[in-house]
Amino acid sequence: MAYPIALLSVTGLSASKSAIAVRGLQKSFNDKVVLDGIDLDIKQGTVFSLLGPNGAGKTTTVRILSTLTKPDAGRARIAGKDLNREPDAVRAAIGVTGQFAAVDNLLTGFENLVLMGDLHHLGKRESRQRATRLLEQFDLVEAAGNSLATYSGGMRRRLDLAMTLVGQPKIIFLDEPTTGLDPRSRRTLWQVIRDLVSQDGVTIFLTTQYLEEADQLADRIAVLDQGKLVAEGTPAELKQLVPGGHVSLRFRDTAGLNRAARELGATGRDEQELTLQVPSDGGARSLRSLLDQLDRANLEPAELTMHTPDLDDVFLALTDHTGRPRSVSITENGADR
């Protein structure tokens, strides 16, 4: 991979404001290395998102940090507690919502929530009050007394997250929480997550395949690929890792396209689509100068679109295994490197 492992902020494990601090986490299954030395430092009250293709080790990371799986090597402090030595203290501080809804299918929604309250030793009254409140918050009041057999996928996910919140955890692990949800349910969950962070100061560890989700929610993002972190930073910092901001100009005919290509000295052209791609930082100044150039050459494109690199570009570029650097926002036939 040609990209630098950039922006890794390395601080000590004892950093006081860290909700999750991880050093040298390793895990293999049989001979397959799944995690190959992961370092993380996640500040309290922030949303951290772990991105990666399928099989990159995201779920394994969550399972290890939530005490479900033992690492082969490495240390982690979660809410200030040592993962290996005080797993029960870690469990008391965390909540986990996994990829598949971890709900009791034979109980009703209300009973599921009360079960969580009882297991957190809240007492009967408090358990019931909290269950009622969460049912309201997650729009499950009408279905509260129904068996989960009647719940839709979105309702199960909401109930799952509500169950995680019963214990009022300080740190919440969300492993692909919106996979398979419709856009509306997804947005509802996003709002819940935002509120948790802004109102309750909860720390969120989120894995997702939806880059838009990470872009929307995360304060910091790390990209995991083949068991290694290949980049970490804010969404804006990550986007700077890939070139590929450009303006795409479409013309009415080949003559226009050819003339524009000559005038602008641009190389990214697509004969079929009659488009020309001009590198651009997306700023108003460079756009104005481009338009001026077109004006002077008496060229009028049929359509002009701006393309700024998004996390999709970053993701694809960082996790490309073909062995050649590739700037994915540029079409294949006219890649400008």
Binding site: S66, T67, L68, R91, G98, A102, V103, L119, H121
Partner: protein
């Protein structure tokens, strides 16, 4: 509260959960009752007259204790399936990420399923009495019989827990207890071990369910037990311990995955 009282309240909470499951799906909870009940009726009305001569007395009296023990073993299917389903459905993973005693998760299951097995035995006993079973037991013998039933249910439930935990899918879990269901048949469940062919007779005499059945039969019918109760109790406790240790090991092993 201390860790021990937490373990106790957690066990109670999870036992309650399992009993709610059982009440909501009685078909599954009482599934263990079906086979011994069918055998009871079949052997009482179809084969009983012919077999009665071989046991020297009322065949329903001879048969019932064996069917009670068989109810204990056939209840293993429901337990194994319930545990395996629980493990594969993610709810247990949730429990494991919470600050709950590991023991409570297992104990909640065992107590709930053992209670169902005992209830099934009670129903079978009621049916047996209705169709002619006439026990001759005093208060002390009844207490002893209850003890044997509890020991059997406990041992079978712990074994079923281990089988359910070892299975990757509920379908597998439902098949694994089969040997235990058949074993009472190859003991003194239907006919005296003495009447079997030599090789089988030796097997019957040394397998766990023969002394267990004989002890229960002796207690319920007021007949001679001799020293049979010693191997019976030892087998039950031994099987329970094996089941418990295997369950714990299997449950903890999942943490390595």
């Amino acid at each position: 509260m201390t860790a021990a009282t937490y373990a106790f309240t957690d066990t109670r909470t999870l036992l309650h959960r399992n009993l709610v499951h059982a009440l909501r799906y009685p078909a599954m909870s009482l599934s263990g009752l079906l086979m011994p009940l069918v055998f009871l009726l079949l052997f009482r009305y179809a084969f009983g007259a012919a077999l009665g001569a071989g046991v020297g007395g009322s065949y329903i009296n001879y048969l019932t204790p064996g069917m009670l023990i068989m109810t204990g073993t056939s209840s293993m299917v429901g337990t194994a399936v319930a545990v395996c389903t629980d493990m594969t459905e993610g709810i247990v993973d949730r429990l494991r990420t919470m600050s709950i005693s590991r023991f409570a998760v297992l104990a909640g299951h065992v107590l709930g399923n053992a209670a169902q097995a005992l209830l099934s035995m009670g129903v079978l006993l009621g049916v047996a009495v209705a169709i002619g079973f006439r026990p001759h037991a005093g208060a002390l013998q009844w207490l002893g019989a209850l003890g044997v039933a509890v020991l059997t249910a406990g041992a079978m439930t712990w074994l079923a827990m281990a089988l359910g935990l070892s299975a990757s899918a509920p379908e597998t879990a439902s098949n694994l207890p089969m040997p235990f269901i058949l074993l009472p048949l190859l003991g003194s469940g239907f006919v005296p071990a003495m009447s079997m062919s030599p090789g089988l007779r030796q097997f019957a005499e040394f397998q766990p369910f023969t002394p267990i059945t004989q002890t229960l039969r002796g207690l319920l019918l007021g007949t001679h037990i001799g020293h049979q109760w010693v191997p019976a109790v030892c087998w039950c406790l031994g099987l329970a311990v094996v089941g418990y240790l295997a369950s714990r090991w299997l449950f903890d092993r999942r943490a390595q995955l």
